[in-house]
Symmetry: C2
Subunit: 367 residues, 2 copies
């Protein structure tokens, strides 16, 4: 006797978010309800099979308003422009919880090799080599190297941002969104892995080996979840623009404040809600970069009241604007192996990035 | 009509040096003469299929005799002992062409992940963070990450050294040695790749991006060839020991001097002929680590007079000592992609490692 497995057939026009070459036998079933079909369009970035790793580096400068930060910016821009530099990068700015200005460069490579070559050409700590210990400018570098198995994207429009700018294309409309658990269902590794977090070690290494001078390296833990979630209202106008700016954005900003300031209890290690810049001037695009103890923690927040309000406002926005909606939303999310993360902080205040998660005894080494 | 390919059958007792799972269709034939069978035994390290990368890091300290180098040694030993540290390491010493003492730590990992985790826990430049710019102690770090496709070993005895200590075992006797070109025939990638060198760029990046303070990073080139070639006379005695020390070693040392001092014209970037230490005291084991512009350059030197004399002395040694020969020779060799190399020099003299190959204008930045 043969056992015939019957699967629900999806409407022909929709694709799965996971591309064919990353499909694996599922030991962990999808969460989509039986017969589910999403109402709105969503797209995912597609890479050819030759792309296995998507290295990305976030470099930040942190300084009091009106500090003379131009030389430090120039150092980083020169570094980005060097041989084998990123295939795509963008620059953003925000004021953090301590009232410091932050400029954030996000660097992306398509594949491991050029990133590694670039990195191999850089002197250790090149991004802070010109800064003085105890000076008014701090800097940090957060490196991530997700496998394509460990990450997913979703876009309201086939309009790439982040690493999707390096993709070979966008999928057609997918069936893997608009239900609880859909982000997990889009991550190829989650087909067979529960993505459970490892423990954040504080005391594994003696301070000596992790902390030298004013540089602090934070030990990563398994399956940290990193979310870049973005908004682009450049092309909106009239009533749609008004609705976004007065109804959606205030709720988004309240949610951003919540996880930025009180995220610890929810498993949010840090959050930065930043505005992109072109040629040094702000543009109508924002994103938040948030790091979570696990995808499960993020999933829990997504179902909590603050986020439900943001989510509801987003739904109302697209319902109101209809098919011609010009507001573009996207995210790229990844669940990272410990070996694919590196966190280095130089001369930064102790509420910066992963430093927030260190016990006071460790954090106090940083000014 | 079918074309039948006839290959020479090797005697059943001998294996190929390339393991089955790294065999690829050969577009570049082996160099072994028809019907060739080697006279002496040779073995190669064998790794299971799960091992794809063999990261190794050479860390050196360079100092005038009698410098107080103990704290710098301790920093490196603490680093080695940290979480996810090397699966094997050894320590050696030599006096370089400038009369400086050098202590060399060779660190090996079985596979990429733990090396990456270890590296991600280390502050940038941790290996020289306690050293003063302009002080009497210099330090360098040379990182290599060969794929198992890019490297080979050969051993006169099934007695591992270097990365072979991390192997799953030794092969049986192989057929892939004792003829010109056999080293190339042992490298899996050479089955389909000529391993031609890339150009050593001097001026690709402005000095600014490569040189900061007293740290110099040297830009790698494609297919640099790295050879660790070792000698172990620990177990020799009587006439065999006498022969090695009076007939073989002096010729070896002359050859080492030749490529250390005058290697540039032969394509030898640098050579270090070092003696291993256990608990800080020398043991009866030496190795040379030499970096070549290409495998072809190394092959040319191997056929040149100086090396032929060493080679001849080795043959006489094993002929004389017969099957009970206790002298153990080995090498591990790799042809490295540019992205798998990283060279960093801090406060070192300008005849150190790859610094020898920089034009004077670049080298003069280093004391």
């Amino acid at each position: 006797m043969t056992i015939v497995e019957v699967t629900t057939l999806e409407p022909e026009v929709l694709e799965e978010a996971i591309p064919a070459h990353l499909k694996r036998p599922r030991t962990r079933p999808r969460s989509s309800p039986p017969g589910f079909t999403p109402k709105h369009a969503s797209y995912s970035a597609r890479f050819d099979e030759d792309v296995a790793i998507l290295p990305m580096v976030y470099i930040g400068l942190q300084f009091p308003p009106r500090a003379r930060v131009e030389p430090a910016i120039q150092t980083i821009e020169d570094g980005i422009a060097g041989s084998f530099g990123p295939d795509f990068h963008d620059r953003a700015r925000y004021v953090d919880s301590q009232g410091k200005e932050n400029i954030i460069f996000a660097l992306y490579w398509r594949g491991r090799e050029n990133h590694q070559r670039w990195n191999n050409l850089k002197p250790d700590g090149w991004w802070h080599a010109d800064l003085a210990i105890g000076g008014e400018i701090g800097a940090f570098e957060e490196r991530y190297q997700p496998s394509v198995m460990d990450t997913e994207t979703t876009f309201s429009h086939p309009h790439p941002e982040g690493y999707a700018t390096l993709a070979d294309g966008m999928s057609g409309k997918t069936d893997t969104h608009e239900y609880w658990g859909s982000a997990r269902d889009r991550i190829p590794r989650a087909q067979f892995d529960d993505l459970a977090p490892g423990v954040l070690h504080h005391a594994d290494d003696p301070a000596k080996s992790e902390t030298q001078g004013r540089t602090v390296v934070v030990q990563p833990h398994e399956n940290l979840c990193l979310l870049r979630s973005g908004q682009d209202w450049t092309d909106t106008s009239g009533a749609e623009r008004e609705f976004y700016l007065t109804e959606v954005r205030p709720l988004l900003e309240a949610g951003m404040r919540e996880i930025s300031e009180d995220g610890a209890g929810m498993g949010c290690h840090f959050n930065r809600y930043v505005q992109l810049e072109m040629d040094g001037a702000p543009v109508e695009r924002t994103y938040s970069l948030s790091a979570w103890r696990s995808l499960a923690d993020l999933e829990a927040w997504v179902k909590a009241d603050t986020h439900l309000q943001i989510f509801g406002a987003g739904i109302r926005h697209f319902k109101k604007a209809g098919e011609r909606a010009k507001l573009r939303l996207y995210h790229e999310m990844m669940v990272l192996k410990a070996s694919d993360q590196r966190f280095t902080y130089f001369n930064c205040h102790n509420q910066t990035g992963m430093l927030r998660r260190l016990p006071d005894t460790r954090r106090s080494k940083v000014p």
